[in-house]
Symmetry: C2
Subunit: 261 residues, 2 copies
């Protein structure tokens, strides 16, 4: 694997079919994004939902209706082909998984790019903290909670959180580091007793994989980008496209540029 | 009580004997300091101890040897008379408690002013957090821990911490707020299980008063300015002066000026 190519080179390899599958580990230091594509009449409400719930739904960029470009995130982007894999939804159900969505394209489609936890895991690791799901080479564990999202039109739901265990001093440090990155989920939303946010079994995450929690470690919970996906599944728009898990948009933006200080 | 007088007016009232006792609640918004006065040959080592342990021992100002002025903190200061009460120590033992130390003054005395938790409790409260020791109108509970200080010459010891209980989300917010104030103890040093830092009974603080910890609250621990006092008691310098508890230097510096952002 050649992790040292530039984001634009990687996007071109994805577009040509030379690169397939997961983007994690590629272009370290650059922001990767979750993607949601919706028809314009649903996009306005989705944007409102994100605006009201910025911690789980941080919008880093969006397109004009019908446009496949988001120049502030990625030079020469074609969102129809520059992600390795896409899921096509109809009425909340997956109907296809494809590597190019050109044949599904419509003039009323609006693309949203949302921040993801890769962008804050990197500064945590750079600071010497151990991110358990990275160490154990698995997906981060994610859980449904009882924390309500603020509803917007047809979008509603509760927050999904990701969990990373830390010793208390490292949890405090993680709060500091992630506070610098409000546009990629920011500071944790909870730490300690999982039951206080409606998580009954920390060893059985609803999404991703369980990770080891060592004695003396606190589970630390972050707002998670799966929240808008769950809201989408519940709202059941007639048509929707998302990235496939792990197959993200790799942008030209350095993670460090998202730091507010 | 007239809390609206300026710091310089309050210091003049203290100097004249018009104001006696506690300074807490006076001149809200202005930094109050813990004070330590040592002979020069001990002062150098004490400064090193503070430099090596900045979280419990944040030096906001120090005088030249023999001088009673610290102009960067307080205009026209006379440290010999501008605090309401002083403790005189000989060989680590309190030998007197007085309202003026002019008769004890020596040309080799160096005065240290150290940041205190009043400066971060105020922004916590301003942000809507409940600071339990303020609500319950008592002293903050303080505990000896097993967290070692870095030694410097004859100064050594373990860290003393203060504790304020919060719900998890408020604890996370408190980390953010206090991170902005590194010169007044900064972010907490621990949260959650007290036994992990050597505290065996959270309801029996070694200093100050116990406070209520409600169900679902986490104890959150900050490095505490009693740490240098304990180090002083252990080092037993032949001569030393400190403020009496609660009888602080009220400076001309606004708390907000200590925020790094």
């Amino acid at each position: 694997m050649n992790a040292e190519i530039t984001p634009v080179e990687l996007r071109h390899r994805i577009r040509s079919g030379e690169h397939t599958g997961n983007t994690s580990g590629f272009c370290p230091g650059f922001v990767q994004c979750n993607m949601v594509i919706l028809p314009k009449d649903w996009a306005n409400e989705f944007l409102q939902f994100c605006q009201k719930n910025p911690k789980p739904c941080p919008v880093l960029g969006m397109s004009d209706a019908g446009s496949w470009e988001i120049p502030e995130l990625a030079a020469g982007l074609d969102v129809r082909s520059d992600l390795p894999s896409y899921k096509i939804f109809e009425n909340g159900e997956v109907v296809n998984e494809v590597t190019d969505v050109s044949e599904y394209w419509r003039d009323d489609l609006v693309t949203f790019m949302l921040g993801c936890s890769f962008s804050f895991e990197e500064p945590l690791i750079d600071d010497g903290l151990e991110v358990r799901n990275v160490t154990e080479e698995c997906n981060v564990p994610m859980y449904r909670t009882n924390i309500p999202c603020r509803s917007a039109g047809r979008f509603d739901g509760t927050m999904v959180v990701s969990m990373r265990p830390f010793l208390a001093a490292d949890a405090i440090r993680a709060v500091q580091i992630c506070t610098r990155f409000p546009s990629v989920h920011g500071a944790p939303v909870h730490l300690g007793d999982p039951s206080l946010i409606g998580i009954n079994d920390i060893n059985n995450p609803e999404f991703g994989d369980a990770v080891t929690i060592h004695e003396n470690e606190l589970p630390v919970f972050w707002a998670c980008g799966v929240t808008p996906q769950v809201a989408l599944e519940q709202a059941k728009p007639p048509f929707c496209i998302t990235h496939s898990p792990g197959c993200m948009l790799v942008t030209d933006i350095q993670n460090s540029k998202l730091a507010v200080m």
